[in-house]
């Protein structure tokens, strides 16, 4: 069923809210009142129309609740409704960020508790809670490194980033005034230690390393890397996007890391929400802790306080403020609820099950698919498109055919270091049965591809609300909003 845009459904004079008439008062808009007759262009819909419209739109979406969603590097695990419920508690949802501290002691305690869990789980002594997302967490970590270097009076500007890194890593480094120097990977999908060592020098600010990395592998030389970068006078930034593979089992502090962001929506189940909001707290080593941004919560004898201004008396030299107010409180609530629900034992079980599920999937699929790198994987399994060679079917084609089988496809063409990559992350909240169903479906599609039916794949998917969309046309002549003329 087609669902028109709201702009095509509206009627003037119709509304989905009932508001009382304002009392007549003398306007104090300073002569800037919007003219009565200047239409803003918003459509008028009744409440029933709005409910139906968005219900129908939702039915054109696939979420974790809809089925298996093995989108590699995105960690599409179950989003508990308990977390949604507690985030809406009065006393949480209705708090204003600028209330007096005396009226928000519970909120500050909650942030403090969430921070405590993150510090214990990472073994790190400090955490900055305010970053709005993983990308801003990276910014936070790299700015702390920059601030620490500045404090040392050193002009190091080169940051080493593996080729396989997520695009945010180089983008973030650039935003902090660093230049990016790529480190190649070895045959087995890890950092080339020799190449890395060769690149070290006194202009190196540090390394940005994802661990487990974007190939789904644990960087087995991570400690050596840490030692080397430290010895060279640089810092070790770890992209914690894949912390979910090791939470409760490996503490980043034990690996020599100086800063790491944690995607609460990946590791701690806050909802992905169609692309946000995220939350990216950053844990810091002793070396970087003093440079963490404002604001932060401290506990004193008379309660909790939110430090909102750079006060160097406590020895801290915050590099600044990253966000209005003090971070994604709603995500802290959900993440804390998730952490308390699992506990230390459950988090450990969760990471173990995530890795077990991924390796099981790897074991089943490698019978037909070409594995990118040998050995066990961590939380996700990476394949290249060697197995499709000669079939006329591309990674994209296969992925689209998977949609018709009732699954969300894997991540495609990432990481870039692998040709035609397929990155598959089942997560720990999937059953063996659902992984088996997925593997069965993929294996039978591969058989179909091998049988030479590439036409079928080129035109997939067939059963979706839309068939393949013309992305080129969209970019060539962008239509980015509705207007009466393009209706």
């Amino acid at each position: 069923l087609e669902e028109k845009l709201i702009f095509e459904q509206g009627e003037p004079g119709r509304t989905g809210v009932d508001l009382p008439d304002p009392a007549p008062v003398k306007s104090r808009l300073g002569g800037l009142a919007r003219a009565e007759d200047s239409a803003i262009g918003l459509p008028g819909l009744s409440e029933p129309q709005v409910v139906r419209h968005f219900t129908r739109l939702s039915q054109k979406n696939f979420g974790i609740d809809s089925g298996f969603f093995p989108l590699g590097s995105c960690t599409m695990k179950h989003n508990p409704r308990l977390n949604e419920k507690v985030a809406r508690l009065p006393g949480i949802a209705d708090l204003h960020p600028m209330q007096p501290e005396s009226t928000v002691q519970g909120a500050l305690e909650l942030i403090d508790q969430c921070a405590h869990w993150l510090m214990v789980l990472t073994g790190m002594p400090a955490v900055a809670m305010s970053p709005a997302s993983g990308a801003q967490g990276e910014l936070c970590g790299m700015m702390a490194i920059r601030a620490a270097l500045d404090a040392r009076g050193e002009n190091r500007r080169r940051v080493l980033v593996p080729e396989s890194a997520h695009g945010t890593n180089p983008a973030t480094a650039a935003a902090c005034g660093f230049t990016v120097d790529s480190i190649p990977a070895t045959e087995d999908g890890r950092v080339d230690l020799a190449a890395f060592e060769a690149k070290l020098g006194d202009d190196v600010a540090g390394i940005m390393l994802t661990n487990p990395n974007t190939c789904g592998l644990f960087e087995r030389d991570v400690r050596k890397i840490a030692d080397l970068v430290h010895a060279a006078g640089g810092y070790f930034y770890c992209d914690g996007a894949n912390f979910n593979a090791i939470v409760g089992r490996v503490r980043p502090a034990d690996l020599g890391i100086d800063a790491m962001h944690i995607n609460l929506h990946k590791t701690f189940s806050t909802p992905h929400g169609g692309g946000g909001p995220g939350s990216g707290p950053v844990v810091f080593s002793e070396a970087l802790a003093p440079f963490a941004p404002i604001p932060y919560v401290v506990k004193t004898e008379d309660g909790f306080h939110m430090v909102e201004t750079a006060d160097e008396k406590d020895g801290n030299k915050p590099f600044g403020r990253l966000k209005g107010f003090h971070g994604q409180m709603g995500m802290f609530v959900r993440a804390l609820s998730y952490m308390k629900s699992h506990g230390a034992d459950g988090l450990r079980q969760a990471s173990g099950d995530a890795v077990l599920n991924a390796n099981y999937l790897l074991a089943r699929l490698k019978t037909k698919l070409s594995v990118a790198f040998p050995g066990y994987c961590m939380h996700e399994a990476l394949f290249d498109d060697d197995f499709l060679k000669g079939t006329g079917v591309s990674t994209l084609d296969l992925a689209k055919a998977i949609i018709d089988e009732g699954f969300h496809p894997m991540t495609m063409y990432f990481p870039l270091v692998v040709h035609g990559a397929l990155l598959i992350e089942p997560t720990e909240t999937e059953t063996k049965e659902s992984i088996d169903q997925f593997c069965d479906a993929v294996l039978s599609l591969v058989a179909k591809a091998e049988a030479g039916d590439s036409e079928f794949f080129k035109n997939a998917p067939y059963l979706t609300p839309r068939r393949r969309l013309d992305e080129t046309a969209a970019a060539r002549k962008p239509i980015l909003r509705w207007s009466p003329s393009n209706a």
């Binding site: 104090r28 808009l29 008028g44 910014l139 909001p277 403020r321 034992d345 969309l469 393009n486």
Partner: protein
């Protein structure tokens, strides 16, 4: 554990298929000694009832705005959110979806983003808007960086009327990218004039940033400022913190702004102690390829049917890496959905009426406070927030009102901890949620405390 479906039998059979002896074996690449053998020192798992009880206890230690007359603003505003909004954003197909990388099964997200972009462009009166940013402050910082890219200049002029958090975030973002940030301190009693910033604009200036209404609640026409900017090749960035305002006041687009950005929390999103919120970001067609953040565009599918996709992604980090327009990746998807649903309910009539009520409530509040000895309303103009000067330090007054069960307003000392000259000023916001009783209670309590 209720979220984990594997049984011991599953685990055993899967390990057998893998050919591993134990889960620990799968972690064989972890360096010696770093693999923990026991759970870390934190409490063990708890049932739903216990977790809910613990969280409720923390919540109960706070005094929420729903349980007290509240006049807090300064960049976050309490508005009534229709129950429909919360219902829609909790639907699993929206809540548990990810970035619409597979448009064939993400038309729901994509279509509402297209609607969101259109709504934002409409209320700001700009050509195009993106699919949202993290919040108003980061939108402001990104707008400045965008202006620098677009003009290939490295100087930003910030108005004294800009929210201090927005200023600080912008300074933080600029500090390591050789961008100079200039501007003047603001003061609620020094009325911004149309030409206050003119002398700071030169041919190195990438942009001028003004807030409208400004942080003290004042309204100014920035048409002349836009002309002054454009005369020097600079861009005018208009920032806002209260998205309801544009239902009652002239649009930033009508001033000739090049970028309009700000906070969208007021529409559909709970206060939530400061986040997550949703940054709105609009600009002109000319500048669209310099815009940060995701963009949703219209196209057609294989069968020729209208559909939507993420587009112009060559601006973004996952393609351009260190040359991207921004490092932003996730946006505020679900918050932008809340915005879209609420805005759809409001419609043209509802949005304008909501704004009118907000203004009326603020005028009524200002009139009530003007009658209190020791309170002086300093604004000539305002929308739903204004500044008062108190006979005593505002922070103390606010605390005294807490004891009386009232969340009075935001003392300027909270926003400007280093500005001794602002200690007696307080921001007071009023919205459709403030009743006549609330206003009377505030006036009466202030009278007591200031007596």
């Amino acid at each position: 554990m209720r979220y984990l479906p594997l049984t011991q039998a599953d685990r055993a059979s899967m390990l057998e298929t893998i050919g591993a002896g134990s889960v620990d074996d799968l972690y064989c690449d972890v360096p010696e000694g770093a693999l923990l053998k026991e759970p870390v020192d934190l409490p063990h798992h708890q049932g739903e009832m216990q977790v809910e009880r613990d969280m409720a206890k923390l919540a109960a230690k706070n005094m929420g705005t729903a349980s007290a007359p509240s006049f807090l603003g300064a960049g976050a505003y309490r508005h009534h959110i229709p129950a429909t909004v919360d219902y829609i954003i909790q639907r699993g197909e929206f809540l548990t979806a990810y970035t619409p990388y597979q448009p064939e099964i993400a038309q729901g997200t994509l279509q509402y983003l297209f609607e969101f972009q259109t709504q934002v462009a409409s209320i700001t009166d700009m050509d195009v808007a993106n699919a949202s940013m993290w919040d108003g402050a980061t939108s402001c910082a990104e707008a400045v960086l965008m202006a620098c890219r677009a003009t290939r200049r490295k100087k930003a002029v910030l108005s004294g009327g800009l929210h201090p958090h927005y200023r600080e975030v912008t300074e933080t973002y600029c500090q390591y990218s050789d961008t100079q940030v200039a501007g003047r301190d603001g003061h609620p009693e020094h009325q911004a004039t149309a030409d206050e910033l003119d002398d700071l604009i030169d041919d190195q200036t990438a942009c001028v940033v003004v807030q409208y209404p400004d942080v003290f609640g004042r309204l100014s026409d920035h048409t002349k400022l836009a002309e002054a900017c454009h005369a020097k090749g600079a861009l005018l960035i208009v920032v806002f913190t209260e998205a309801v305002a544009f239902g009652a006041i002239k649009s930033p687009g009508s001033f000739g702004a090049d970028i309009v950005c700000g906070e969208g929390q007021s529409i559909g999103n709970a206060l939530g102690y400061g986040g997550p919120y949703v940054g709105l970001f609009a600009t002109t067609s000319k500048l669209v390829r310099q815009m940060p953040g995701r963009l949703c565009g219209e196209t057609v599918d294989q069968d020729g049917k209208r559909g939507f996709v993420l587009t112009l992604s060559t601006r973004e980090q996952h393609i351009r890496r260190e040359k991207a327009t921004s490092n932003i990746c996730t946006n505020s998807g679900l918050c932008s959905l809340a915005f879209t649903v609420h805005m759809s309910l409001l419609g043209e009539d509802g949005y304008r009426k909501l704004a009118a009520i907000n203004h009326e409530r603020a005028v009524t509040t200002a009139d009530a406070l003007d009658g209190v000895a020791g309170v002086e309303v300093v604004n000539d103009s305002f929308f739903n927030e204004f500044t008062v000067k108190l006979a005593k330090p505002a922070a103390e007054v606010v605390e005294a009102l807490v004891a009386r069960g009232i969340l009075a307003g935001v003392p300027l000392s909270r926003l400007y901890p280093n500005r001794d000259d602002l200690g007696q000023y307080m921001l007071v916001a009023a919205t459709e949620t403030n009743t006549d009783e609330d206003i009377a209670a505030l006036a009466a309590a202030l009278k007591e405390v200031l007596a």
